[in-house]
């Protein structure tokens, strides 16, 4: 699940919840779905909990690109 995209995970999760609420799948599937749903929830939450922010600037041209950090002016306080 490492490279999974958030929106795919979210979609899968919605699907699983809907199926679970319909309540007409075999027990084995229900158990498996529930497990997978919990995993997806963890993944999505973790993704949303990431707070590391990066603001950089790209300088130079195609042949010699440089990435430099960008000084944010925290003007408005948030």
């Amino acid at each position: 699940m490492a490279k999974e995209k958030f929106e795919d995970a979210l979609e899968k999760l919605e699907d699983i919840v809907k199926k679970m609420e319909a309540g007409d799948m075999p027990l084995d599937d229900a158990l498996k779905s529930f497990e997978e749903g919990i995993k997806l929830i963890r993944f999505c939450s973790a993704k949303l909990d990431e707070t590391q922010r990066r603001v950089e600037q790209l300088l130079g041209n195609e042949d010699s690109l440089k990435v430099k950090s960008f000084q944010e002016e925290d003007g408005d306080g948030n």
């Binding site: 919605e14 919840v17 229900a30 603001v55 790209l58 195609e62 960008f70 408005d76």
Partner: protein
């Protein structure tokens, strides 16, 4: 009588008539004799090839706020004015008091813009089918804009607020002037070469048509069209449109709006995940409860057969009892009914009636005999009387006197004339006493 006016009166009258008659007017023409005294008001004349009129643009009206503010009145420029016609009595001049003025026929830029727009549209550069979809949560956001000023600050603030983990790579460029388009094209190339961003915002604050000119350049439009990364254009104010806006995959009305479009609301997403989690757990819980209930139900229905036999026995006993009870009731009922019938039967026994009838009959018999006797006695008496009368009327009594009755022997018909008879016919003749048979010997007339 001639009415004599003073000059002031005349001018006042003219002022009144002019101002009432014309009110507001739209006038177009060329600017000339432009001068700006210290007051800040602008005086000029508007003319066409045959005529001219004085105009003043008072500062108090505030020179128009938005784009027209950047429009500079120049000698010889062609303008369209909204103005009020007024008279200045001290000099006896009439002039236009300008309310607003806009360039007329500056159209070169505007025209070029329209032409390019039409050309690129015809080529299909704005077609929806080429619009790329934005990533739901971008891994890294490329921003092409000026590294200083409100635009980049707005974008950084909005992304930070909505989605703190946003990763932004800025490609700094000039956004105005003749180098701007080339720099933006280079920045696009750089971002593609770097390969780390999955969405690009091209942003600039508001400005005049001239300021926005770089974003109306064909080379930039084509570069954007060929981008493999989705591009959002956020140029100028909501009312400004550039060629970039049309060719980009998405047009944002302002740079802040672009930032909002490019990153989702973290809190909204979080709420959604939490809600889904609740639903998943509740759903699973309900699922298991339902299964458990189902099992319990089956268990209940799954009974020991011996218990069933006992149940049946009890049922049978019950039925038997009910049957016996029913029969007892039935018997009692019938017995009672029989008793009642017997009683009523006894009550209506015929014996008594037979006795009564017999007595009645006896009496009747006695009466009948008595009646019969008296009946006959009466009859007998009456008969006797009648016989005496009858006797006096009887033909026998006539016969007594010597007459006789002749009857045909064959038919017994009484012979009342000789014509009824034939010779040798036998007749029977009755006398008062006895009869005799005779034969007709001879017949005499009538």
């Amino acid at each position: 009588m001639k009415e004599i006016l003073t000059v002031s009166q005349l001018n006042e009258n003219i002022k009144y008539i002019l101002e009432e008659t014309f009110g507001f007017v739209w006038v177009e023409g060329e600017v000339s004799n432009l001068h700006r005294p210290q007051s800040g008001h602008i005086y000029f004349t508007i003319k066409d090839d045959k005529s001219q009129i004085r105009a003043v643009y008072f500062r108090k009206y505030g020179f128009p706020k938005n784009r027209v503010a950047d429009f500079e009145l120049e000698e010889g420029s062609s303008v369209l004015c909204r103005a009020r016609l007024s008279v200045y009595p001290p000099r006896g001049d009439y002039q236009l008091i300008i309310e607003s003025v806009e360039p007329r026929g500056v159209g070169a830029l505007q025209k070029a813009f329209e032409q390019l727009k039409a050309k690129l549209a015809a080529e299909g550069l704005f077609d929806n089918q080429y619009k790329k979809e934005l990533p739901f949560i971008p891994g890294r956001i490329g921003v092409i804009t000026s590294p200083t000023g409100a635009v980049i600050r707005d974008i950084l603030n909005v992304t930070k607020r909505r989605y703190p983990a946003a990763d932004i790579l800025i490609a700094p460029v000039k956004v105005q002037g003749s180098d701007a388009a080339a720099e933006i094209i280079q920045a696009l190339a750089n971002l593609h070469a770097h390969g780390s961003v999955d969405v690009i915002i091209i942003a600039r604050g508001g400005g005049s048509l001239e300021d926005l000119a770089p974003f109306n350049e064909e080379s930039l439009a084509r570069k954007i069209f060929s981008s493999t990364i989705p591009v959002i254009s956020a140029i100028g104010h909501e009312t400004d449109f550039t060629i970039c806006d049309f060719v980009a995959d998405l047009r944002a009305p302002t740079p802040s709006a672009a930032a909002e479009l490019v990153v989702p609301q973290r809190l909204e997403l979080l709420a959604k995940i939490i809600n889904l989690k609740k639903r998943a757990i509740a759903g699973f819980g309900r699922y298991m409860t339902d299964r458990r209930k189902g099992l319990l139900g089956l268990q209940e229905r799954f009974k020991d057969p011996r218990r069933q036999v006992t149940d049946l026995q009890i049922h049978l006993d019950d039925l038997q009892q009910r049957m016996q009870r029913d029969m007892r009731h039935q018997r009692q009922y019938l017995a009672g009914k029989l008793q009642k019938l017997e009683l009523s039967l006894k009550h209506s026994s015929p014996e008594k009636r037979i006795q009564e009838t017999r007595i009645l009959l006896n009496n009747l018999q006695k009466d009948t005999q008595a009646n019969f006797r008296s009946y006959w006695a009466v009859r007998h008496e009456r008969l006797r009387k009648n016989a005496a009368v009858l006797n006096s009327l009887s033909p026998l009594a006539v016969l007594q006197r010597g007459y006789s009755i002749t009857r045909k022997l064959s038919s017994g018909e009484i012979v009342r004339s000789a014509g009824m008879l034939a010779t040798n016919e036998e007749v029977n003749i009755q006398l008062a006493k006895g009869k005799f048979q005779a034969r007709v010997e001879k017949i005499y007339g009538e």
